[in-house]
């Protein structure tokens, strides 16, 4: 299944990046969301999809039984998801505010600080 997921990840990256390169604030943030999904899925896949069973120790056992998914990438992704959520929330508020202050959602019109 890894090749399929790899293609999904690649597509998510491509779509996310493409959206971010538009002129529009909203597309930018949607692209960001896709990008963060892509990154999470990448961690998940790169570590290997070794089982369909959750990394849980059955009651009464001292160690997990049978094959089970690698728990560490899951913990990493959980952290990354939550961080991503915070970032997206902030970005949304930023864009909201930027739209209020600047009066446009066209990124091409936001060049005053560069030149």
């Amino acid at each position: 299944m890894e090749p399929v997921l790899a293609i999904v990840i690649g597509s998510l990256y491509a779509a996310g990046l493409y959206l971010m390169m538009r002129r529009n604030l909203v597309k930018l943030v949607i692209g960001l969301v896709l990008l963060s999904q892509a990154a999470n899925l990448l961690i998940f896949t790169a570590a290997g999809l070794r089982s369909k069973h959750a990394p849980l120790v059955p009651p009464g056992e001292a160690q997990p039984v049978g094959d089970f998914a690698d728990p560490l990438p899951q913990a990493l992704i959980l952290t990354a998801i939550v961080i991503g959520f915070g970032v997206i929330a902030f970005t949304l508020a930023l864009f909201h505010r930027a739209y209020q202050v600047i009066g446009t959602d066209d990124l091409d019109e936001m060049r005053a600080t560069d030149t």
């Binding site: 849980l56 959980l78 939550v82 915070g86 508020a93």
Partner: protein
């Protein structure tokens, strides 16, 4: 939202979700769940409340100020780590106490629970701060 149906549904769904979120928080160490998931779920309940009624009543329901909630949560989580330093262990080394509660079971209490509660509070506080403030715009 002025939907009567939504409002009355919210009145019975809200406590259920909160209860479930606390359950997820407490059971998260053994089964899927934990501070994040619980916190997010609780926050969703409040968000629902804010949508069905309004932000003001949702705030009133929360009682505590978000910022304080976050601060306390952060202090709890950090404190859970500092406790071990008082014993001479490294930061965030977990400490466990087993309490025997008659009739229930041996309850193991550990700093990870404290930590998770801190996480829960921070997540609730933060998410609500985001939702409420954006909703008020």
């Amino acid at each position: 939202m002025r939907s009567i149906i939504l409002r009355s549904a919210t009145r019975y769904l809200f406590p259920i979700i909160i209860l479930f979120s606390i359950f997820l928080l407490l059971r998260g160490h053994d089964e899927p769940g934990g501070g994040f998931i619980g916190g997010l779920l609780a926050a969703t309940a409040f968000a629902l409340y804010a949508i069905a009624y309004d932000v003001k009543s949702a705030r009133a329901m929360l009682r505590a100020d978000h910022i304080t909630l976050i601060g306390v949560g952060l202090l709890l989580a950090t404190g859970a780590g500092i406790i071990s330093m008082l014993v001479g262990d490294p930061f965030l080394a977990t400490q466990w106490v087993t309490l025997n509660v008659p009739g229930v079971a041996d309850v193991k209490l550990g700093t990870p629970l404290l930590f998770d509660i801190g996480v829960y509070l921070v997540v609730v506080g933060v998410t609500l701060m985001l939702v409420f403030h954006l909703a008020e715009e």
